[in-house]
Symmetry: D3
Subunit: 144 residues, 6 copies
């Protein structure tokens, strides 16, 4: 088994605000990430795939297929979007990087087998970097 990791970038805005909590509690919890008009980031998303290289092609995963899946499922949904306003999942959940990583895993798993065969490469993890200082890694088996 070999692990292949490929990185993608997108830019988006968000605001951290938990609707169950009051304004003062939100400000204490999220600090400047709770400012009312939102802010944004250049996100880097690293998708890790695990598999056995095909004996003829010498590759674990067809990169064009993976790129197509990530572009169609993730980048089309997140690129230059306001995550709170324009991504369905973040009506219910706060768009932290932890929740963004879980949503990315969910979206990829949902369409994985429309692209890759059952004995093909499997999704191992997704890591979200909100800034170059931070990374949030979600294993694929965290999400059903």
């Amino acid at each position: 088994m070999i692990r292949v990791t490929r990185k993608y970038r997108f830019s988006a805005s968000h605001r951290l605000h938990a609707p169950q909590l009051g304004d003062a509690e939100n400000r204490a919890l999220y600090g400047k990430c709770n400012y009312p008009f939102g802010h944004g980031h250049n996100y880097e998303i690293a998708v890790s795939v695990r598999g056995v290289p095909d004996s003829r092609s010498g590759r674990v995963v067809d990169i064009d297929l993976l790129d197509g899946l990530v572009r169609g499922q993730l980048l089309a949904a997140f690129e230059h979007r306001n995550l709170n306003e324009e991504v369905e999942a973040f009506r219910a959940a706060v768009p932290t990087s932890e929740n963004l990583g879980r949503e990315a895993v969910r979206l990829l798993k949902q369409s994985w087998h429309s692209v890759f065969p059952p004995d093909g490469p499997c999704l191992e993890a997704v890591a979200i970097a909100e800034t170059p200082r931070n990374a949030f890694e979600v294993s694929a088996d965290e999400i059903q």
Copy 2:
């Protein structure tokens, strides 16, 4: 004369939309940067200063003073803000990186001599990187 460049980072959101133009023209002009709910970036701002090293200290600029000025004038205004909604200058001008760089130069020049003496270091340029692929450099003498 030696040139000293120091980098700072902040995250903010913006939307590119020129109020004098119609919606269709805005979409054609700015593409995904015109999506109605805005998006955001991790900005890097590089401030370049020029001067002669002080003969005793061996330094062109006191970095603590420069940091204080940049934090007080730029980062306090931009960090985790929605540039369109929360920065006065972008009520009149579209918050492109070009205009953001000009506003940064204007803000630094306005307070420069409250911090540095007339024979001290001078501001040479400000460069804004919206993403690692792009940089927008404004000379200090562009702005009066």
Copy 3:
């Protein structure tokens, strides 16, 4: 469980010299790292934490609390210091990156539960990069 990694930087000096060994053996073992007056690095320290996102906040760890702990326990001890002369642990042990990583884990574990509750996030690992070419990763369970 989600893994969150956050990076910090500090600059320090050190000299690799094992007191139990003679001068010639030290020179053969450590080469230029044994030069008598020491040298220094910009260190990057990556702290990895593992936990379950809180259902309300959507976060694994309160970043402000983590920053406070790392600043108070690690950066306050190492930043702009001579590790051999000014850090107690390196009176007995050579300040290699391996030992620096173990000391960082020890210091973080010692104060962890003064900041995080027993059912909160746990420390998983610390990785020290002495230069961009090297990384030394110590699991938290290496150190009692």
Copy 4:
């Protein structure tokens, strides 16, 4: 046990072309990587080693020994070479990053114990980055 990772760089050219497949199939499979005259990359190779720090030296691995092994076994074979034409292993296998990683593990394991003692550090994994966007990680125990 501590994990030490050290990075090396080399530049080489290759062409992805599976000899068992026809020209049209190769073009469909590898796209621009199948262009007939080949192309090239600046590769980054990260070698991960695991071990217990020596109680006197405080080090898991003697970096000079590791550098000598990697230079002699890997860089001497790959640096500024055409992988298809000048590396024996790629007469039989397509020089994908997956196969390059496996060949790197094979070459390092073959000479490991001419340099490191049986109770010394062990090779854990090799990761090949063809570009900054991609990484291919091969565990040492993948290869006999």
Copy 5:
């Protein structure tokens, strides 16, 4: 006037060999870059443009137009190509980064005014980075 710099990447192979010189002289001159089967790089190309921001759009240059020009004129010619065999200009000139930069300037200037108006942004310079350690910058006025 504001300077905008945008970076692009491509991978290609080349061999440094001056046809007017003998084999021994070529080896002495270019070292490992003269190995007979060629080698390759991930090139980064930074295109710098200078101009006055448009008063309505707030932009110096329409990035989509610039991207289209660079893709059509440069990346289509160089991406995944063997520069010696597949780029006309390098039949006569050795494909050093210096000559590659000059060819890039020549190609961009040749098509510049099919895309940008006479009073629009002008090309200032092209910088080629063969590896992260090297950059070769050619001013646009070097080439007629």
Copy 6:
């Protein structure tokens, strides 16, 4: 004329302390950089050369000659050294990055024409980066 910039790295320690000033003044001036036992950095030094490509070789500068000069004159003096204690120039001057850049220019100019002919490439500037956030650029004509 084409500008070629090549980067080198070295690690060293220093302490900022101006002997003409008292201890309190030094502490106020240099802050943590004045701690008595010194600290250190991974320095990056970028050497910029300007010239006309040779018509046969297609190169502005022979990189092996430049590397030899930088290694022999700069890296041999600075690598893994304590700049205050082991570099002659810093007995008289504080080892700020400004002064380190001037010393680097002086050392390179002093030996330049033992390596490069009068009509060959000329040294344009040296830039010292103490950390990834800072750069100090000294023009070659600053130093006689």
